[in-house]
């Protein structure tokens, strides 16, 4: 795949990196020909971002060699990487928000101790880059006032301004609208035509197929395959990505819904910056069914969970649940929602679901700390807390079954079991569950899925949010698709396939399954 004349843009040999007990990258080899778009694909946590951080000098590899443009290069800092002609567009932009575009681009490449001369030069150079690569942006605009798509353009300009010949983009479309994403790929194509090498990190197969020349697949910290894009297809890549793992299959009978438990009508949420995060979301939830919410992360799923669980208050719309009507004027906070028997397993257990500095038995009452089960008249009833925690640890097979161990010291799967056990054992009417198996080992995944189905079969309503389509399809009885804060599609799980859902998630589906979000 490499002709002999031009050297490779990047060659990695046996790169390994370990963080404590976690082997993030193991013996990675990679060859990227100059002037191509090279995709790196893998699931969340496969080690892609770590590898790119190593190439960009953010971390140093424990072992291995890097060659840039045919020359062995030591990259210890980002400065080394910039020197070697590498630029990176991070998933979370590295911009100074209250600076102008011009100041951001100049930062680190000011062209002298005083700014004036450098500013004039930068202005000219930016004009040239803008016309050459169709990267138009107002250089005097304040960055925080620009839409996300333009901020990303600033990041690309930053790299090009420093003379980057290799551009790394880490999950660049995660935050973009489809139109912005399309424009990004136009830009990348024109970069390629100018001889820039592009390294595209993503977990979206569609983007790989649409834009890359070659693709490398990572799995669990290792590079498992290299393909020319034209000689492969989505199915093969998907299989390589997930490995020999059999398609997720959960043993479950058809749902037997037994009546309405919760109905959401035209829920809207406007955040503190005035951005509409939820747009007229309506749906119904029945006892005895699992409703899955599919969507690219950041399309309103988190906000929906927050609104339903009482963490955020609605801007408009109403939720009917347990005989109460919750509106903007009549809000309920998280502990009031819990009292109504709404349980919530949050998407991020480290940030929200647990206090990692607490011992397990303490973390096991988070949110229910006012319950009479754990309290005497004044003091907490530690004995009751401990014995219940031990009981649950045995039932849920939490390892090690030590209620005094700090929550931080359990593995991801066991932490998640502590959270799910806490919520499920309250015997809720509705369980909101976000990313139930993120960062959870295979064994525990099966276990968690079984418990979710069991809860459904006992007549409870479950709202499942997951970015893993597999999980959504395996568990759900009904699937809603969210895009840009709105529900854009609804279909029974039996009709769902990856293609349909994928198109819906990109808001690009024009088939017979009409948008059902606002039928209520």
């Amino acid at each position: 795949m490499n002709d002999n004349k031009t050297p490779l843009a990047i060659e990695l040999r046996d790169i390994s990196k370990r963080f404590g007990a976690v082997q993030a990258n193991k013996d990675i080899c990679l060859q990227v020909p100059t002037g191509t778009i090279h995709g790196i694909i893998g699931e969340n946590g496969a080690g892609k971002s770590t590898l790119m951080s190593i190439i960009y000098g953010f971390y140093e590899a424990d072992t291995g060699e890097i060659e840039i443009g045919g020359k062995k290069t030591h990259i210890r800092t980002s400065e080394d990487a910039i020197q070697a002609g590498i630029g990176m567009v991070h998933q979370h932009f590295m911009l100074v928000e209250n600076f102008t575009v011009l100041e951001n681009v100049m930062l680190g490449a000011e062209g002298g101790a005083l700014l004036r001369q450098g500013k004039d030069d930068a202005r000219l150079e930016l004009k040239r880059l803008a016309s050459e690569y169709s990267l138009d942006v107002d250089v005097d605009a304040i960055v925080e006032e620009l839409p996300v798509g333009l901020q990303q353009r600033v990041e690309i300009l930053k790299a090009l301004y420093r003379g980057a010949k290799i551009l790394i983009l880490d999950e660049p479309t995660g935050v973009l609208t489809p139109q912005e994403a399309d424009h990004l790929f136009v830009i990348l194509k024109s970069l390629k035509e100018q001889g820039v090498t592009v390294l595209l990190i993503t977990h979206k197969l569609r983007e790989i197929m649409a834009s890359t020349d070659n693709v490398s697949v990572m799995r669990q910290g290792q590079m498992v395959a290299h393909r020319e894009t034209k000689n492969t297809d989505k199915e093969e890549l998907a299989e390589l990505m997930v490995g020999k793992k059999v398609r997720l299959k959960v043993d479950k009978d058809d749902a037997k819904p037994t009546g309405l438990v919760l109905s959401a009508k035209k829920l809207s949420l406007v955040d503190s910056q005035g951005v509409k995060r939820l747009k007229d979301v309506s749906f119904e939830l029945n006892a005895g069914e699992i409703v899955g919410i599919a969507g690219v992360s950041g399309n309103g799923q988190s906000e929906l969970l927050n609104v339903l669980s009482g963490i955020s208050s609605l801007s408009s719309g109403e939720i009917q649940f347990a005989g109460e009507t919750i509106t903007a004027a009549n809000p309920k906070n998280a502990s009031q929602m819990r009292d109504l028997k709404m349980a919530h397993v949050p998407e991020d257990r480290h940030k929200m679901g647990l206090v990692t500095g607490f011992e397990a038995y303490e973390a096991a009452i988070l949110g229910y700390h006012n319950s009479s089960a754990y309290n005497g008249s004044i003091l907490l009833n530690r004995k009751a807390m401990l014995s219940e925690c031990e009981e649950r640890m045995a039932k849920w097979d939490v390892r090690p079954p030590n209620p005094h161990l700090k929550t931080a010291n359990f593995s991801g799967g066991n932490q998640q079991k502590i959270v799910i056990a806490r919520e499920v054992e309250q015997n809720p009417e509705v369980l909101l569950i976000g990313q139930p198996t993120r960062g959870v080992d295979i064994g525990a995944i099966e276990n968690i899925h079984e418990e979710i189905v069991k809860l459904r079969d006992s007549g409870k309503a479950i709202l499942l949010v997951s970015v893993e389509l597999d999980e959504i399809m395996a568990l759900s009885d009904r699937i809603l698709v969210m895009f840009d804060g709105a529900v854009v599609g609804e279909l029974p799980a039996s009709d769902a396939d990856e293609r349909t859902l994928g198109l819906m998630m990109a808001n690009a589906y024009n088939g017979p399954l009409s948008k059902t979000g606002d039928k209520a």
């Binding site: 009031q336 679901g353 647990l354 949110g367 700390h369 907490l380 700090k406």
Partner: protein, 365 residues
């Protein structure tokens, strides 16, 4: 880093101990630089603090103030708040204690005045913490800066009140009148005499017992009640607190009220126990010293008692030391205090990473 492999005694005993030892080591270098023998100095210090009954009394008298302010700082710390305003809260709390004494000393017996003074000190101290707390909770102004500002405001307010309102007529010194004896907290040597325990006279008084009761109260509150649970949740993970339905603003406010109230008890010891009148600057830096005490005591009441006694010993021993070696001032104690804050607080990660790393490697090997 996997903390599981670090033995508990390393993190709760060894590392704090080494940090404090480092502070003492640097203090010894300072004394060496003054041309004196640090070992000899330490000898005088220890003798002064613990060598005779009166010295011990003084040590515990100083420790009483430090327990109050140390507890005040750590209750706030536990909720993730840095209450640097202990000095001002102690000052105003003392005003509360003093006013109770001035109003009731000729009409009520001690058994009634004492609880009223406790309430007065707590209320006034809490009130002085309330405004910064409210502004942090509802308007997002940083409690560190506002409490610093409130220290200065308290100081000016007290000068104003003492000079213009509370000063005795015809006297120059800005003190209130001396309270009647019914508003004096009993000294320990008086308190224990009926039980046949003979102690030398010292300023140590009944407020020391109240300080110990406060330690038990704080310990119970933080680790054994649902309010403490909320406070610790807020202090370690504010997002999780929101998830758990904890009203962060509310917790912030009552935590600061408790913190200010505890600081306010300094007045019990100083105003009601020893000086028996309201006067200027009786807080003498105890509010700031409370930061060192809580850092060294790892925000745990037991640790705070130990740290407060240690600092109390430094205060008392420091006077002895200055007496024996005239080239050393009692201010050397302030230096040591600062070094403890530096090594146990600001530089706590310096050794922690290395020592923990050592134990992790050891357990892996």
């Amino acid at each position: 880093m996997n903390q599981a492999k670090v033995p508990v005694w390393v993190s709760i005993a060894l590392i704090p101990f080494i940090n404090v030892m480092l502070a003492f080591f640097v203090s010894a270098l300072v004394i060496l630089a003054l041309g004196e023998d640090p070992i000899e100095a330490a000898g005088y210090l220890i003798y002064g603090a613990f060598g005779y009954e009166e010295g011990i009394g003084y040590t515990l008298y100083y420790a009483t103030n430090l327990i109050f302010t140390g507890l005040a700082v750590s209750v706030a710390f536990k909720a993730g708040l840095f209450n640097i305003g202990g000095e001002g809260q102690a000052y105003i709390g003392g005003l509360g204690v003093g006013l109770v004494c001035l109003w009731f000393d000729s009409s009520l017996p001690l058994m009634v005045i004492a609880p009223l003074a406790i309430i007065g000190g707590a209320l006034f101290g809490a009130a002085w913490a309330y405004i910064p707390a409210y502004l942090q909770a509802r308007r997002g102004s940083h409690v560190v800066i506002t409490t610093i500002m409130f220290n200065f405001i308290a100081s000016s307010l007290m000068v104003y009140l003492l000079v213009n309102w509370l000063k005795q007529d015809g006297r120059m010194s800005p003190n209130s009148r001396t309270f009647e004896e019914s508003a004096w907290l009993p000294y320990m040597h008086e308190l224990l005499a009926p039980f046949g325990i003979e102690l030398s006279e010292s300023p140590l008084n009944a407020s020391f017992l109240w300080a110990l009761i406060c330690c038990v109260f704080v310990w119970g509150l933080i680790w054994h009640t649902r309010w403490g649970y909320q406070l610790r949740t807020l202090g370690t993970n504010a997002t999780a607190a929101v998830y758990a339905g904890i009203d962060n603003s509310k917790v912030t406010i009552w935590v600061m009220l408790i913190s200010g109230g505890l600081a306010g008890f300094v007045g019990l010891n100083e105003i009601m126990g020893v000086n028996h009148s309201l006067l200027l600057n009786f807080t003498a830096g105890y509010g700031f010293a409370g930061i060192a005490v809580s850092l060294m005591g790892r925000n745990h009441p037991v640790g705070i008692i130990v740290a407060a006694i240690l600092f109390g010993a430094l205060y008392q021993g420091g006077s002895e030391l200055a007496f024996e070696i005239p080239t050393i001032t009692p201010e050397i104690v302030v230096v040591i205090q600062g070094l403890v804050i530096l090594f146990s607080g600001a530089l706590e990660n310096m050794l922690k990473d290395r020592i923990e790393g050592f134990f992790i490697r050891k357990s892996v090997a």
